[in-house]
């Protein structure tokens, strides 16, 4: 399995990406697709757009490393991660994670793991454009708590 990992300015086609993961094979029983969408308000204030900055080079490498970790934890048959950068208007897609597996538990767990990772450790930063100008979004405690779920105790390699 060759994972698809892309960082791009342009939008993505979630359905076309999911179709690529299952085409011509009959071992996939479960496909989980997560699409992250730009909301029209942040902390109760309407926003005009988000701008996503990233660290080119590091972002790709770090995402690939976490996709590999997901593959060692769960029996995945396909993984796609696409993260946009640049200016993104409310209602537009930001991020896509697709996981395919024989069984749903692995597909769900891997998709959540990758999203928790992208929210907290992948080198992306979101800036909002609002009425009062621009502001950088602060990291959220509950995202960090979600990511901490996946930490393994030292020495414990049990899958799932």
């Amino acid at each position: 399995m060759q994972p698809t990992i892309r960082l791009q300015r342009e939008d993505f086609d979630a359905a076309a990406e999911a179709a690529l993961l299952t085409r011509g094979r009959t071992d996939v029983g479960a496909v989980v697709t997560f699409a992250g969408v730009c909301r029209g308000a942040e902390s109760g204030e309407p926003i005009a757009a988000l701008t996503l900055e990233h660290y080119p080079g590091m972002a790709e490498t770090e995402i690939a490393r976490h996709v590999e970790e997901a593959r060692t934890r769960w029996p995945l048959l396909g993984v796609t991660v696409i993260h946009r950068y640049g200016r993104i208007a409310p209602g537009e897609n930001i991020v896509l994670v697709i996981t395919a597996s024989s069984h749903r538990q692995a597909a769900f767990a891997a998709a959540e793991f990758l999203m928790d990772y992208l929210k907290t450790r992948a080198p992306f930063w979101k800036q909002v454009e609002g009425k009062a100008g621009t502001a950088w979004i602060e990291a959220k405690d509950d995202d960090n708590a979600a990511a901490a779920r996946w930490k393994k105790p030292a020495g414990d390699q049990a899958a799932e």
Binding site: I94, V95, M115, P123
Partner: protein, 83 residues
């Protein structure tokens, strides 16, 4: 070595990257941050809250006590907010 800055660290420093040559006494990321603070108001402002700054050496996350010897590229940025 090359320093690169992102998000509000980049905005406060006023540039996206630069070449620096810190003295040999600067051995860790935390020491580099202290040294950078002395380079001017913009650096003092960017690095005033060291606990809000994350660092990467050659594109891998590192902790403040990481050694900088041999680093080609050191990045400073706020906590990540992707996804």
């Amino acid at each position: 070595m090359k320093l690169v800055y992102f998000a509000w660290v980049r905005e406060r420093v006023g540039k996206a990257e630069e070449e620096i040559e810190p003295p040999a006494s600067v051995r860790t990321v935390a020491e580099l941050i202290r040294w950078l603070r002395g380079r001017g108001d913009e650096y003092a402002h960017a690095f005033e809250q060291a606990q809000s700054i994350r660092a990467a050496i050659d594109r891998s996350h590192v902790k403040p006590d990481a050694a900088i010897a041999g680093a080609r590229e050191i990045a400073f940025f706020p906590p990540m907010t992707g996804g």
